[in-house]
Symmetry: D2
Subunit: 338 residues, 4 copies
C-alpha cells in the first residue's frame, strides 16, 4: 500500500481522484489538505463520498505529512500555488503528481509568456517529467515529480502523435478545434459557468491565446523533432464532462483511411487506454472511463482526427492514477477499469 | 407612449422586461439604472440586445428620472434594496412596479419573520397592491405601487384560487410541491447554481422555510376569507426556465374531474393568460410566453392541480407588463403575445 | 466464478449490468442475448464497452445456455416478454434475477389490472421473491427467482419503511411526488423522450395511474401489516439519471426531526447502501453509485421524507447485483463500490 | 393581409413559423396541412399554441388552397416530398417559400449526387431563387419560388461572404467546423436524438459528406466568381437550439483584426439581421431571434470567423419570414423583432 496525500481537496479533480483511489487496491489516502480556514470533513465537501471516507481536511503541513509516511502526493492546486507548495514535499522525499500546469512547460520563458508570471521553482522544473504515459511512460516510472498533462492537450497530442512522430504532415498548419464540458472550468462559481448563462449555449473562448497551446506544441515537437505550430480553439459545451477535439492536418502525401487507421492501431498497440475506433467517437462513450478514443478520416486532401475523452478522468485524475501506477510498478490499469 | 425606467438592469428579469418593452407599442424605455460603479451599455450587460438598445446604464438618480419625464419604473432590485430605493421615486409621483418581495406581504411582522429584517417603508407598504392581475386586477389599475407577485406563488395561488374562493377544500392540508428552472435563482454566481453542480441534478431546497410560503398563504386567505396553511417544497430542475407545481388538496366533497375543469374554466373565462387544459401541462408549453397552464385531476380522494409557467415571463417580467397594461389602460395582452 | 447470462442486451440496464459485472471478481458473463435478428457485438450496441467485452449478442437458447454452464441469468426484457421467456431457464435450474415487472406483484389479479394482460406464469410467480435486499434480503438469498424492484418504488418503500414498520403514520394519506431522469423511460426512441421535446421541460405523466403504485403499496403493506394507499405522481426531469422522491405523510403523533433521523439510522444500521443524511439529499450525490440517500424533515404537522438514487444503478442494475451477491453468498457490496 | 398556408405542420419549423406569423401584422395563416391521416387541431400538435390558433390540420389540396385565396405557402416538408408537392401550388399561382433542400442546388446533378435521387421538378428548379436575403435579396423580391437556405450554410456563407466576394482568401482551404443544437435534426424520434443518447454527449456526424457542403460551396462560388472547396464538419451539441460555426481560412495577404471587422461592418451595413460584434459571439445571444452574429479574429497566419444563430429562427423560419417580407414589399424586419 502506498500512502497518499491529496493536496487541495475541494475541487473536481480531487473528488475524482478520491473515487478512483478508494477502489485502488494498492493506494491508501491518509491525508487531504485544504487551503480553507476551516477543516470540513471531506464528505461534507463532496457529499457523494458520504459514508466512504472519514478523513477531515487539514492544513498543508509538509513535515506532518512526511512524518505520517506519505510517499506520494497528488497536487490539485491552482497553477502558481503548486510551484510554491510542492517543493517542501519534494525536498522531504515525497514523490508528487502535479495536476496543475506549473511543471508542464520545460522552458520557463514560455511559462512566463503564457502564464504571466515568472516560474519560481526552476530546480524541480528541471526534474519534472511530462506525464503523458503513452509518450513519456518510461520517464514517468522513475520521476520524482510528474507534471500531469492538461485535458485538452491529451486529445491533441495523442490524436496527432502517430503523424507527428512520422513527420508525415505539415507541422505548421495544424488546427485543433476543441470542445469541452463545463467541469473543465473548475469548481469556483463564475458568471461564465453560471447555469443559466452556459446552459443552452455554445461558444468559443480564449481564441488564439489558450494556455494549452504551448503544451500541445512542446509534446508534438518532441515527437517530430522540429518546431510545431498549432491553432487551438477551445469551446464550452453545455454538459458536465467530456472533451472532443476535431483536428485538421495536411498530409505530405495522400493516405487512405485504412492506412491511417492501421498506422494508429500499430502506434497504440500497447496502450490499454487509447482506443482507435472505426465508428465516429462520442464523448459519452468515454464518460467515467480513462479511455481516449480516436478515429481518423480523410476528407478531400486533408486528414481529420477525431479524439475524445472524459476531461476529469482521462483528462486529469484518471491519467494521474495511470502515472501513479507506472511510478510504483503496478499494472497501468489498476483501479482504472471501474 | 409611457416613459419607463428599469431599476437594476443587470439581471434576468431586467433583460426579459427589455425584450418585451422593446416591442410594446406604448412603452418607451428611457433609462436603465445599475448599482455598479461603471456605466456599461445595456447591450454589453446583455449581448442578446446588441443592436436593439443604445442606452447606457446610469446611477439611480430620482430627480433626474423625474425630470426626464419617467412615469413608470420597474424595480428589478433585490429585496431590502427595493424598500430603501423606491420611496424616492414614489414621492416624485412615479408609479412603480416592484419585482422584489418587499411590498408583497401586507403585515410587516410577517415580512420581518421571513426576511429577517424590519420593513423600512411602512407608508408605501400600506398603499401597495399585490399585482396578481387575475385576482387583484381592479386594484392594480389605480395603484401607485404594484408588488409584482413571486414566481412560485402564482402557480400555487392561481392553481388553487377556484377551490379556495369556493372554500371547497381543507385549507389546512394543502401541499404544494414545486419545481423550478435555475434562472429563478438569479444571475449572481453561486456554488448551487454553478453548472457542474446543478446540471444532471435534482434536489429540494429551503424545505419548510421558503419565503414564498407566506405570500401564497396571504393570497389564498384573501380568497377563502380565512387562514390557510400551506406546506411548500421547492426543488431545482436542471433547465433554464419553467416552474411546475404539483398541488395536493383534500376536497370537502367528492368532485369529478369534469366538474373541476368546468369550475376552473368558468373562474378564468376572462383571463387571457390562464389556460385550463385537458392534457397534462408541461413547462415547455409555456416557455417564452405569459401563459399559466392548469390541469386538474382526481386521484383517490384527493384533487391534484398541475400548474406551470415560464418563471421569468409569467413568473416575473411578463406579469409585470400585464400589470403595466392594466395601470395605463392598455389591452392586458399588449406586447405579451410575442 | 458464477457464470452469467444477460437476457436482452440492448438497453440501459444491460449496459450498466455489464459495467458492474466486468469488475466483479466473482462474476463471468458468458452470454448476452438479444431479440434482434442480427447478432452484433455487444460493444457495437454499447460503444462505451469497446475493448472491454468480446461477446457477440446471440439468440435466446435455453438449452444452449444451460449446456454452457450458465448458473444465473439477469433478465433485461420488457414486461410481458419476461414471463414467457424466463420459465425455460428456471426449469433448467438457472437462477434468475428479473429486472422487469412481471414477478413483482404477488397477486396476479393486481398484475392484470395494472398491466392489462393476464399473468402467464403463475407457477414461478408463486416462488418469486421481491428483491429489495434491505427488506427481503433473507428470502433473496435462497430464491430461484428474484423480482428486482422498480426504480421509483425503492425510493418510496425504503423512504417509508421505518415509519410503515412502526405503523406510526396514517397509511391512507401517503403522497409520493417523484421525479426521474429520462433514462428511466428506456432506450426505445419516442416523441416524449426526443431531446428537443423533453430537454428544457418538466412535466408530470401517468398521474394517478402509474404501474409502480401497487408495487409500493404491496411492500408497505407487508411492513405495516395492513393495507396502504399511496398517491404516486411521477415527473420527468431533463437529465440522464436520478430519481428524487418527496414524500408527505401524516404522523399519528408529533415527532422531532432528531427522533426521526435516529429512527431511520437505527433501522438502516446494517444496510451499507442506505445513507440517512442530515443535509438535503440530491440525486447527483448518488449518481453512478448504489446508494439510496434519505433525509427526513418535520414541516408543520407533516413528516417529509426526501429520498434519491441513481435510477439505473440503485434503481435497477446495482440492486440486481446486490441481490446476486446475496444469492451467491458474496459480500453484499462486491463490485458495487466502484 | 397576405393569406398563407403552412405545408407540413407537425415539425419544429412549422411551429416557429406559426409563432412568428401569428404576430405578423400583414400575415394571415388560413391553412395548415399535414400528411397524417387524422386532422388534429394545430394546437394539439403544438400545445404551446393552445388558445392562440383555432385551425385544424387538413390534407394537402392545391385546388382548395387556391380557391380560398392562399397567396403564399411555406413548405415545411421533407426533401423529396417538396419537389413532388409544390408544383401543384406554383402552377396555380401561389408563391412558395420552400424550407426543404429541394430547390437550393441549381445543378440537378449535384442534387442527385448528394441526395441520392434525381430531381423531379427541373422546371421550377430553374426559376427558384436561393433565399439568403443578404446576398440574393433583390431576386427574392420577385421570385415565384424561394429556396429557403439551410441552417448551417447561412453561418458559413454569411461568415465568409465579405472575404469570398473580395477573393482575399485561399478558396480551396476553407474549413467550417460547425456545432448544432439537437432541434436541427427534426422532430422524428431516432436513437441519435433520444435524450439519454445525446444529452451529456458531444460528437461529430456526417464527417466529410454532409449535404450542406455543396450548398455552401455554390453560394461562395457565386460570390467569388470561381469554384470553392469547403471541408465541413457538423457536430451535435446537447442543447435545443443554436448553431455555431468556427471557420478557418488562409488570407492571401495579412490583415489585422480591425481591418477585418471594418470590412465586415461595411459589407453588412444595410443588413439589419447580421451583427458584426467585437466580443466573442455565443449562440445564446441569438436564441429566439433572427440575428446572425459574426466575429473575426486573426490567429497566426489564419483568419478565424465565428458565426452563430438560432437554427430554427434565423436558420429556418425567421429567414423564411424575412424572405416573405421582401417578396411582399414589407419592411424586412416585420414580425421578426419579437
Amino acid at each position: 500500500m502506498v500512502k497518499i496525500a491529496i493536496l487541495g481537496g475541494s475541487g473536481y479533480t480531487a473528488v475524482e481522484l478520491l473515487k478512483i483511489l478508494l477502489r485502488h487496491p494498492q493506494a491508501e489516502v491518509v491525508a487531504v489538505t485544504s487551503r480553507q480556514d476551516d477543516t470540513p470533513l471531506v464528505a461534507e465537501l463532496h457529499p457523494v463520498l458520504t459514508g466512504r471516507i472519514a478523513l477531515r481536511c487539514e492544513p498543508f503541513n509538509p513535515d506532518g505529512l512526511a512524518a505520517r509516511g506519505v510517499q506520494c502526493a497528488f497536487g490539485c492546486l491552482p497553477h502558481g500555488v503548486s510551484m510554491t507548495t510542492l517543493p517542501a514535499l519534494l525536498e522531504r522525499g515525497v514523490r508528487v503528481i502535479d495536476l496543475s500546469a506549473d511543471y508542464r512547460l520545460r522552458d520557463p520563458n514560455v511559462y512566463a509568456q503564457w502564464y504571466g508570471e515568472s516560474h519560481e521553482d526552476l530546480a524541480h522544473l528541471a526534474q519534472a517529467v511530462y506525464g503523458l504515459p503513452e509518450i513519456y511512460g518510461d520517464e514517468v516510472a522513475t520521476a520524482p515529480l510528474v507534471a500531469n498533462p492538461g485535458c485538452y492537450p491529451q486529445t491533441a497530442i495523442l490524436g496527432l502523435a502517430p503523424l507527428a512522430a512520422g513527420r508525415s504532415i505539415d507541422l505548421k498548419s495544424i488546427i485543433v478545434d476543441s470542445k469541452s464540458g463545463i467541469s473543465g472550468a473548475g469548481r469556483t462559481p463564475k458568471l461564465t459557468t453560471h447555469f443559466p448563462e452556459c446552459n443552452e449555449n455554445f461558444a468559443a473562448y480564449a481564441v488564439g491565446n489558450h494556455r494549452h497551446t504551448p503544451e500541445i506544441e512542446q509534446a508534438l515537437a518532441d515527437l517530430a523533432g522540429e518546431a510545431v505550430e498549432v491553432i487551438f480553439t477551445p469551446h464550452l459545451v453545455p454538459m458536465d464532462r467530456g472533451i472532443f477535439s476535431t483536428i485538421y492536418v495536411t498530409p505530405h502525401r495522400p493516405m487512405t483511411q485504412a492506412q491511417l487507421t492501421e498506422l494508429y492501431r500499430e502506434y497504440y498497440r500497447n496502450a490499454p487506454f487509447v482506443r482507435v475506433v472505426d465508428h465516429l467517437p462520442a464523448t459519452k462513450h468515454t464518460t467515467g472511463t480513462n479511455f481516449l478514443d480516436i478515429a481518423v478520416r480523410v476528407v478531400r486532401d486533408r486528414v481529420l482526427v477525431l479524439a475524445c475523452e472524459d476531461n476529469l478522468i482521462r483528462g486529469a485524475s484518471g491519467v494521474a492514477v495511470q502515472n501513479f501506477n507506472r511510478m510504483y510498478g503496478f499494472d497501468e490499469r489498476t483501479g482504472l477499469f471501474g
